[in-house]
Symmetry: C2
Subunit: 730 residues, 2 copies
């Protein structure tokens, strides 16, 4: 584009006879080039704008001319010594980036010699199998930009870091980008089913087209891989943890291999969730007992079969004896027995076994909060070194706010990975804007006090506390076939944030939000700050209208509509009343000594934070205490008033979010602006729905009026229930 500009300048200087008409026509072409393709990309039929497909890899032309001139100095060649396919991906990504950022076609050479003015890859010899190998350095040297790493992955990550830098139009001078991942296994978990549906997915159908594989390899797989690699994600579990045994058949293994062939080029290993009963249902054995020699042999053979097709296969993810899934306990064995049997099958290979700790028994007298700890802590030290136990961030189930899981820190001999949920199961599906980095950070920064102050969950997870070498951060993906990948355009930021934090958990929520907004939405500083402000407050706003003061909502069903009145479920802990425990006295789950005593699973310093209702921070209050309706809180309001205040102000704040978004309007692509504006409208309507449901329902216990200043709901409780029931119908 800029070349055209220059051409126009030159043209008028040199050939002043060129008619104004022709110049004007060239300008029209110029405008067409600038605007045409973008509108085309979105929707080649009628509508205009950015359809969000490009995510944070838009590579829009660099507009700062001085910066651009600097970049161009290093855009004469890409020196790629070595033919590794990941290096090739790095080169081709840089080529794509330079083409779009600078309008320059940069050739790749394998022997740059002593040339300068290029980007040069430098693979540092002597690598070991360690997360540090994936680190990179990008700096100026000998008139080139040198991207160095001990691994091909690191080169690729360095290339993406450079492109991120250039997208933000930052100076080349004193360039020194260097970073090492803090966690070794950084991966997405897809809860995708074989029929193309996604459990808890809100962005269309699955990206993986099992009926088309292996012959047809959707071009989108590659863009998926690029997006992940750009964040440093190096693993993906393709199928739902409620797993299908299909994936252990040769038929499906070759399908998976076709996907893995694409992922491999971007340094991403492919993993599978496995169905623990597969030896019986698929293999035709009479048992799936992990101590049975035939069962062990079956899994060994399976793993061997997989490695024949996928030499860099990542490993298995297992949900066992959880929510009805089969597992080793069906045969009187432990989780460790099950996991170790699988680990044994992986012995000859690099692969690992990731065993989920999301377990709880359906006992109405027990506190589900305590279940994972009770089942897993006694097994510490009994797992094979190839096993990582994957623990959800909180003890229950991805609530808008949860205390950290008490497992963290309490299995010092067992690598504990952390599982976050990116998809918005409890966060308003694809119509509520909730920026999740603060949720992830809140957990990671929580102090377990296991080895004294500063023993954060992050330090457990990154291995620094207990010297785990196999460290893991997993995120349940929010991707789907929707053109913009995530349904809500702002939900892209959650994928981005998870990826960036899995690489470096010390990045701040704000830093990530700013980075993402600049790469994805707008470079206008004012608009960006307005959006970043919206993002940073969005989670607290959601909590306020959805589950304030430590309420939670893991009740049965689709997890869409408010149902605090739900008191019947397939299990006691699949009802609402099990959690909020509202009665004429008050509200909340007593988990202190006088209650379920779940608090005892934490270190004393943590207990101290939460065991006294007068001192418990309000966001966690009802997680740990049954609090009287008239109890005066630190805000000066009684519980009932405080609840109402948060529910009302939370819903009000969605209007504020709408305003913030509108402030950025003129700097946003119109299609994305409209999309988000429309979703914010839905969010506003539904926030009021949630507020009304809680207020009217809890009022039947609290027997108090809506506090002054807030307008009581126009609907009755029965009307709200009726509107909810619509969503429970087929």
């Amino acid at each position: 584009m800029i070349r055209l500009n220059r051409y126009l300048r030159n043209a008028t200087n040199q050939y002043d006879k060129i008619s104004i008409m022709n110049i004007r026509f060239l300008l029209l072409i110029f405008i067409y080039i600038l605007i045409g393709p973008a509108s085309f990309a979105t929707d080649p039929l009628t509508s205009e704008g950015d359809d969000g497909y490009r995510l944070w890899l838009k590579y829009e032309p660099v507009t700062e001319l001085s910066v651009k001139a600097e970049y161009i100095k290093y855009a004469t060649f890409i020196g790629q010594s070595g033919k590794g396919e990941i290096l090739q991906s790095a080169s081709s990504e840089l080529q794509t980036g330079f083409q779009k950022l600078l309008g320059k076609n940069v050739p790749v050479t394998e022997s740059p010699g002593k040339r300068s003015g290029g980007i040069v890859f430098k693979l540092i010899p002597g690598t070991a199998n360690d997360r540090q190998d994936e680190g990179y350095q990008v700096q100026l040297s000998g008139g080139n930009i040198v991207v160095s790493s001990k691994s091909e992955n690191g080169i690729l990550y360095g290339a993406f870091a450079l492109l991120r830098h250039m997208q933000m139009q930052l100076p080349v001078k004193n360039l020194n980008l260097a970073s090492n991942p803090k966690v070794r296994y950084r991966m997405l978990n897809h809860w995708d089913n074989t029929d193309g549906t996604i459990e808890r997915g809100y962005a269309g159908s699955s990206l993986w087209k099992w009926y088309e594989l292996p012959e047809r390899v959707d071009p989108r797989y590659q863009d998926y891989a690029r997006a992940n690699a750009s964040l440093g994600i190096n693993g993906t579990v393709l199928n739902n943890v409620n797993a299908s045994a299909r994936f252990m058949s040769q038929e499906y293994i070759v399908k998976v291999a076709a996907v893995a062939n694409v992922m491999r080029k971007y340094g991403i290993k492919t993993y599978l969730s496995v169905y623990f009963a597969a030896p019986k249902t698929l293999g035709g054995l009479t048992t799936s007992d992990p101590l049975d020699p035939q069962v062990r042999a079956w899994w060994k053979e399976k793993v061997t079969q997989i490695y024949k097709e996928i030499p860099d296969f990542g490993g298995f993810l297992v949900k066992a004896n959880s929510e009805g899934e089969p597992g080793p306990q069906d045969y009187g064995r432990t989780h460790a027995d099950g996991a170790n049997m699988l680990a044994e099958a992986f012995k000859p290979y690099d692969g690992i076994v990731i065993w989920r700790a999301f377990v709880y028994k359906a006992d109405p007298k027990e506190d589900r909060f305590k279940a994972a700890y009770e089942e897993f802590v006694p097994l510490d030290g009994k797992f094979d070194p190839k096993v990582i136990v994957q623990v959800k961030n909180g003890p229950i189930d991805f609530q808008p706010r949860e205390p950290f899981s008490p497992l963290f820190g309490n299995m010092p001999k067992t690598p504990l990975g952390i599982e976050f949920q990116i998809t918005q199961e409890y966060l308003g599906f694809a119509s509520h804007a909730v920026y999740e980095a603060p949720i992830f950070k809140e957990c990671l920064e929580s102090d377990t006090y296991v080895n004294g102050k500063g023993s954060t969950v992050a330090n457990v997870v990154d291995g620094s506390l207990h010297s785990y070498s196999r460290t893991l951060m997993a995120g349940v993906a929010n991707t789907g076939s929707d053109r913009n990948w995530t349904g809500h355009p702002l939900a892209q930021a959650n994928w981005y944030a998870f990826g960036r934090l899995s690489w470096d958990h010390q990045l701040s929520s704000e830093q990530i939000a700013r980075e993402w907004t600049e790469l994805t939405l707008t470079r206008n500083q004012k608009a960006r700050e307005s959006i970043v402000g919206l993002m940073l407050r969005s989670r607290e706003i959601y909590v306020d209208y959805n589950t304030p003061l430590g309420l939670s909502r893991p009740w049965m069903g689709v997890h869409f509509a408010p149902e605090p009145w739900q008191n019947k479920g397939a299990r006691p802990d699949w009802t609402a009343v099990y959690y909020h425990r509202a009665d004429s006295v008050g509200l909340g789950f007593n988990r202190t000594e006088s209650g379920s005593n779940a608090l005892v699973q934490y270190r004393p310093q943590v207990q101290q934070q939460w065991n006294n209702p007068d001192k418990t921070p309000l966001p966690y209050l009802l997680w740990f205490h049954h609090v009287g309706w008239d109890k005066k809180l630190s805000t000066g309001r009684i519980l009932w008033e405080e609840l109402c205040t948060r529910l009302y102000t939370g819903a009000d704040s969605v209007s504020w979010m709408q305003q913030q978004w509108d402030l950025a309007k003129s700097s946003l692509d119109p299609q994305i602006y409209t999309d988000v504006a429309q979703r914010l409208k839905i969010q506003h309507r539904e926030a009021i729905w949630w507020r009304n449901a809680w207020v009217l329902y809890l009022q039947t216990f609290a027997k108090q009026p809506v506090p002054k200043g807030f307008e009581p709901p126009k609907q009755t409780l029965e009307e709200v229930k009726k509107s909810v029931n619509i969503y429970l119908m087929r």
Copy 2:
């Protein structure tokens, strides 16, 4: 683009000093304009090519310069008298088309006066509510291209006809495009569920985003409407016939209204499938008995409520007392009682009630073939004039080949609409290329002999035989959220063919295939003919390897894998053995007098075609006869040999299809070429799978070797069963 070419020509002539370098640079821009946007549209990240989103409305630049010059003569204005929103759509479509076809921005004027050189809309006054009103004429007059019709819809259809003409670069000279629809209600039926899944959908998730509506209106709805309007489709049923009662709630009615607002602009009326038990489940009544006054009142109120939000609401589609759905028979009432109750509710409005005749009782001794006739023929004359009975093309269930339903012609007092299935439930999902126009045509051209020779199904359906005024053709949609709408790129042709035939059932399959191929894939004649050849043979090839000689396969399950051995099902007629009746003697369902005598439901002339196994055309043989394995057929081969021959040659012919497709390669967009080539590979593998399944299974009865010249399957029957069982697992 052409203007740039001219500029280049002028430039070199006039300013010979312009350096070659600059010219080369301009050429680069030119190439970028030509190639850039297309590659951008597909995939703004990496891959290149056409992603199929634009369907047959690509409006690619006219390349024939003489033709283009002609078109440009009429591209100075669009004369749109009247402000109706459908007229506006016609204008805007012409603007889009002219912009892309000719690179011309054509202004719209409401008062063209006596200007010439434009496209002028002419609404002929004095309209009535009749299908004829939707006809159009497009011809030259007074130096303009005049698009005339009695209705706005007709103007829109005329505009699309003109654009089709121009996309094919046909001359303007003697332009006279005139056409009247032969059927009044031309509609798609979406089997889309509230959770975004599509029953029998193979192209991603539903287009309708119920959780986002009404606030967010996906821009894609409009492109959906445009595509349908371009074919003359004027109705769409948004939700599955296995209907959710949700749609009768105010909550959902306003969501539907938001979609209807988009459809309306393109002359498309919105319909809903209804859940017959809604008065109970949603309305809280104690019954849904159609003769109960409260129930009748409830539906009246519902319909009134809908019309408040959707003033042009189309009506209801009902699946009742069919496959477990509730219906009037639950209360001892008839289909007519149920339909008439709903029709009564529509009395004050234009809407209609479409009542499906897809019913059958689970009686192992009965022949499901006869069920619809037996239930519906006695009701002839008992339906309210606002009711149309919608009959599937065949008596069973959208099989690759079926005889026409014996209902056609046998309910002279009841308008019978026809229901085709566009989505490929039994036709290989999204990985088999099966061009369906021959299926539709075969049924439409079947002669019922009801009023003597020439009483074709088409004449029943278009009302000419029995003077129905309300005539209907419905197609079960194959659209989904996949970027290319239909999964398989060639499946777009089935949507296209259904739409074109619903407008004019006299178009030939070949004509439609040629038109679609030219609009969508290539203008190269040789390539086009190669593809048209592939398309025209594709259905017979599919039948040969899938269900030759009149076999059928409406067995239980996902309808993906071969399961001719299936003998257990939730109902007797949900097994395979119920249909093929293979035994040691032979194969096929005896529906003659000595068997179920289903043939008696047809007129004698039809019976004569099919009641004698020696004279029955082979494609229908096993539909009507149990034929001995050694029975000599008209081909000179015995049944077993003929079966094997068809199964083998059918699978072989997929290789031929691959060759045909490859012949066109150089004239095809690379992305579309690769996509189809990969799917043909799948088709080839699965064709062999089907062949082997049938051959090995039927061999256990026929006890004969695979005929000479054909290589026996390498797998055993047990191995094939095992490979099928994989697809039956969760």
